[in-house]
Symmetry: C2
Subunit: 188 residues, 2 copies
DNA sequence: TCCAATAATTGACTGCGGTCATTTAATTGG
DNA sequence: CCAATTAAATGACCGCAGTCAATTATTGGA
């Protein structure tokens, strides 16, 4: 791989980042990226398989930054702390309908060979939250892995309902709290 | 509304249904629909807001047919029955990656005014499954609505992981069974 | 230093969803 | 039965992602 390659790629990413900062993710156009970066259309697609691959990189980086914060914090002891701790991450992932759609689309790796940034963050989310459940603060009848896995399902559900007009009465955090209480503190 | 309108619309839907039967949902092209239906491109879009609106109709009808089956069956008494009963529906929704993506995208109504067929089926799914939990066969510490809502979250999670290469070891049904046991039979 | 061989870049082109001013057909009232 | 009005249909056109044969730059060996 040539030095030139890295430079071009870095310029594309830098330009894309700037454009996203200006107009948001959904408004990004590959034409505008290549124009500002001073390269041809084809160059973009020799660096990224498709537009989704660039989005995967940008959004994945955003999620990762939020996971860094989660990693720093002490393990939450209550459902309320669990919800509060994850609020910034949920807000980031639902900032735009387009962003949430991309995340859903790319969160599962289609093939082992093509695990992207977002799919990686979903793995990291589990690695990071499993220890929260290993101390036995919540349930003891099921594994910490399953508790974390289920939390992920409810986080996704809460975010999905956030975009649903029929469920606008409740906030995302309040909805998640209800789910997690039922999931992590059954009978209590 | 004129009779002609209904005829044209019916022809578009019939052609689209036939094309889907031939090549699947993801391969459907609006150009081919209008060509076979013998109408102009613009006619398609005066009948459907966009391609998603047609897909909403076609896929929504498919889901509805499966819900009809669920409605006929007696309320399941065990997690195994719960999983077995829903297996055909899950299989339908995951028959193609494209179909699952469309369902996720359209399952939440963006506005109360634009509740489509798929969003309606998601409401119907809840209406239909809530009674399963009202007899107290499963949990009694949380409402039947919440039990049904949670089941929906886990069904979605199980389907999403179905497309994830990292989780191919387990079948969708097996995965769902694990989730539902933990969700509906805590401590048992 | 020069010459293949390889890697990177180019931009005209394609596919496909979606738009809109214009034309054509149906409907209604006199 | 014939305007006048409203509804439906038309197709050339646009935006934007993605392709690929041709071109240009880089590199490693003789």
């Amino acid at each position: 791989m040539q030095k030139r390659t890295l430079e071009t790629r870095a310029r594309l990413v830098a330009v894309a980042t700037a454009l996203v900062a200006e107009n948001g993710y959904g408004a990004l156009r590959t034409d505008e990226v290549v124009k500002r970066a001073g390269v041809a259309k084809g160059t973009f697609f020799s660096h990224f398989k498709d537009k989704d691959a660039l989005m995967d990189l940008l959004i994945g980086a955003g999620i990762d930054a939020h996971l860094d914060q989660l990693a720093k914090a002490p393990p939450p002891e209550t459902v309320e702390e669990l919800v509060a701790l994850q609020a910034p991450l949920l807000h980031f992932m639902t900032q735009e309908r387009y962003v949430f759609d991309v995340i859903l689309r790319l969160s599962g790796a289609a093939a082992v060979a093509e695990i992207g940034a977002i799919a990686t963050t979903f793995g990291r989310y589990l690695d990071l939250t499993v220890p929260w459940f290993e101390k036995g603060t919540f349930r003891n009848d099921i594994s910490a892995e399953l508790q974390a896995d289920g939390m992920q399902a409810f986080v996704t559900q809460a975010m999905a309902l956030h975009f649903c007009a029929l469920h606008e009465d409740q906030s995302m955090g309040a909805r998640l709290a209800v789910y997690l209480r039922a999931w992590l503190c059954p009978g209590g």
